[in-house]
């Protein structure tokens, strides 16, 4: 993260040496005469090959002679291991598609993946796309309310889940008349109820040939839910043509080749985990490794070493947790296979870049993008000098600008703060919010897509992140909408009013802090604070759980009665309160 002053004093660093020329070549040359057709040609679309992403990630790679190459190596929390070749991926995704079709799931319907990072998640993702249905991945740590809200909005007909998450699905189902089918991938001897069916994928009859749904470039593919300042989360609607920019950014930013072993830390419940944890890398024919376990420095380093990971896409929060453990753990491992590192989710602080040079011999390359953009839009590229703390430069073919906050005209003077805006038109930009055209229209002004993030650019054209332009909380790289947290808080019997804002945090950048007033008969206490924290965690998710709750006599409001979050947020960040003349006096 940087501001105008930091821009002027930033240290210009040379990028880490790479063993071979990066795929992008030079950023300057890649941008000259750029056309996305380049990626379409590499994907074979000019020959009339299918556009369907599912086919492109599996059948196309097999056709390139890589059928017996490992597509997925998976390690579970208890050390279990499973391995799948690209031919396994092709056949097992066929199996999922045929099985769902036989159960009455139709093209265009929404199928939710509510799974931990188990192999079935990755295989079913590809299978659902082959069927022509829309994949709706949801973070498996979501509580029943978060789950129900998103399934209801999407009109989801089928949820694929695990036994351990079945109780949450069952509780949510009471609110979901359109949910016809619940598929359990590890049912074993569990007693299943009405509308619940077991699918043991490894034991299912393999479907060698399957006629993939003839998706067009604009056919809906993936539906990710993302949080905003107001209202409930919105469904960001991607289409099959997103593959074009997801493929090329994976080649040029993550520098992936088919001989790479790649690890993406993101859960596919979030867009990074699908764009760059499934689609991009498999479109390149790379081997993906997945560790379905929580954070642990020793475990992570051992995994990088054992799997000989060459390219690692992580997040600032994880990097800061590794930094907390010091250099001793990393020194115990041979991580010499690593050749490129990248990071996403929140601004990568300069200290993390310096630390990774010392600890891993390579710098992390910050990348910037959003659920709505579908692909990386501003980035540091292999071979391009890194300015530690900078977001980097726009991806070739994508026009980014810093916009005046009132007129939304591009600013031409380096160092001025404005809204980061993008010219619409790249292939993976979402085509709308599910059932919410008005919400989508609000994301545009003066012909620009408004990211909601503020930034600056410097004289060399590098962008620098300043902060959100709204009340959305970025915690550990995940966006949390204050409205959803406030609504959950109000469901607690002791809470009368609530406001949720960001609070600075050394590891997660921001965490959720709640301010609440209590109903008569309830008294503030540490026990009540813990009870409310756990209440929100179970209803929404651990990410949305307030990490601190302030019990206050009243909340700042405008004269019309609207709670003013910005005053509370400014207090937390030690910033000026701004114009408070319209606030109601106590």
């Amino acid at each position: 993260m940087g501001n105008g002053e930091e821009v002027g004093t930033a240290i210009l660093e040379a990028a880490g040496a790479v063993a071979r020329p990066p795929n992008i070549g030079s950023w300057e040359e890649a941008g000259r005469g750029f056309d996305w057709v380049l990626a379409e040609r590499e994907l074979g679309w000019g020959r009339g090959d299918p556009v369907n992403i599912g086919w492109n990630l599996s059948d196309r790679i097999c056709r390139r002679g890589l059928a017996q190459k490992t597509a997925l190596f998976w390690e579970g929390a208890e050390g279990q291991e499973r391995k799948y070749t690209f031919d396994d991926l092709r056949v097992l995704s066929n199996t999922v598609a045929a099985w769902l079709s036989a159960k009455g799931v139709n093209p265009g319907e929404r199928v939710c993946l509510f799974l931990d990072r188990v192999p079935e998640l990755y295989l079913a993702f590809v299978g659902i796309l082959k069927l022509g249905a829309v994949v709706q991945p949801l973070f498996s740590a979501f509580g029943e309310e978060s789950l129900a809200t998103r399934l209801l909005d999407a009109g989801t007909c089928c949820v694929i889940t695990q036994r351990k998450h079945l109780p949450k699905v069952r509780r949510a189902r009471a609110q979901l008349p359109g949910l016809r089918l619940v598929v359990v991938v590890d049912a074993g001897d569990a007693r299943l109820g009405e509308g619940e069916v077991a699918l043991e994928l490894d034991a299912a009859p393999r479907v060698e040939e399957y006629e993939v749904f003839p998706a067009g470039p604009e056919t809906p593919s993936v539906l990710h839910y993302t949080s905003g300042t107001t209202g409930q989360p919105k469904g960001a609607q991607h289409v099959h043509r997103s593959l074009v920019s997801q493929y090329l950014t994976t080649r040029w930013v993550l520098d992936l080749n088919e001989d790479d072993v790649y690890w993406c830390n993101a859960d596919p419940g979030w867009v990074t985990g699908t764009s760059y944890g499934i689609i991009g890398p498999w479109a390149c024919g790379a081997t993906q490794v997945v560790l379905d376990a929580g954070f642990g420095a020793e475990r992570w380093y051992a995994f990088l070493e054992k799997r000989r990971v060459t390219v690692w896409y992580s997040a600032p929060t994880a990097i800061r947790l590794l930094m907390k453990e010091g250099l001793a753990p990393v020194r115990r491992h041979d991580l010499s296979a690593l050749r490129h590192l990248a990071s996403v989710g929140e601004p990568l602080n300069p200290e993390a870049v310096h630390w990774s040079r010392e600890a891993l011999g390579l710098p992390f390359h910050d990348t910037f993008w959003q659920t709505e953009t579908g692909c990386i839009v501003v980035s540091n590229y292999p071979g391009m000098p890194i300015k530690a703390g900078s977001m980097g430069r726009p991806f070739p073919g994508i026009t980014a600008a810093i916009l005046d906050l009132k007129t939304f005209e591009p600013l031409s003077e380096p160092g001025r703060v404005g809204m980061i805006g993008l010219r619409p038109g790249w292939p993976s930009m979402i085509r709308g919010y599910w059932n919410n055209p008005a919400g989508y229209a609000k994301k545009f002004a003066n012909g620009w897509y408004l990211t909601g993030d503020r930034g600056t650019f410097d004289a060399d054209g590098y962008f620098w992140f300043i902060g959100r332009d709204d009340d959305v909380i970025n915690t550990g790289g995940h966006l949390v909408g204050p409205f959803e947290v406030e609504s959950a808080l109000l469901e607690h019997p002791a809470v009368a009013e609530s406001a949720a804002v960001a609070k600075p945090d050394p590891v997660n950048m921001e965490v959720v802090k709640a301010f609440v007033t209590l109903k008569p008969g309830h008294e503030a206490s540490p026990d009540l604070e813990l009870e409310i924290m756990n209440f929100v965690r179970k209803r929404l998710s651990p990410i949305a759980m307030p990490q601190e709750i302030a019990f206050v006599p009243s909340l700042p409001r405008t004269r019309s009665g609207k709670i003013v979050r910005r005053v509370l947020r400014a207090q937390e960040f030690g910033e000026p309160l701004g114009d408070v003349s319209t606030l109601m006096e106590d």
Partner: protein, 85 residues
């Protein structure tokens, strides 16, 4: 197993597992790296320990490693309680 470990195990089971979750928890079960308690939820576990055992756990000590098993959590609580005494 001592009372401290039993109380922490009870809390973890009650708060972080579903009622019908059949997994067996022991003082050496990996909680954080095993995916039972995530790093965000760790804050509520920390708050519980501070309340119940009247200790203050410094942020530097509240690492995923220190919270990875009931044994390591209990050792941390015992150390902090001893310092306080």
């Amino acid at each position: 197993m001592d009372d401290l470990r039993i109380a922490i195990l009870d809390y973890v089971r009650r708060e972080y597992l579903e009622e019908d979750d059949e997994r067996t928890l022991s003082p050496t079960t990996r909680l954080i790296s095993g995916g039972i308690v995530d790093s965000f939820s760790m804050v509520s576990l920390k708050r519980f320990l501070e309340r119940k055992y009247d200790v203050k756990i410094p942020d530097a000590d509240a690492s995923p490693e220190a919270f990875d098993t009931v044994d390591s959590i209990a050792a941390l609580v015992e150390r902090l309680a001893a310092v306080k005494a």
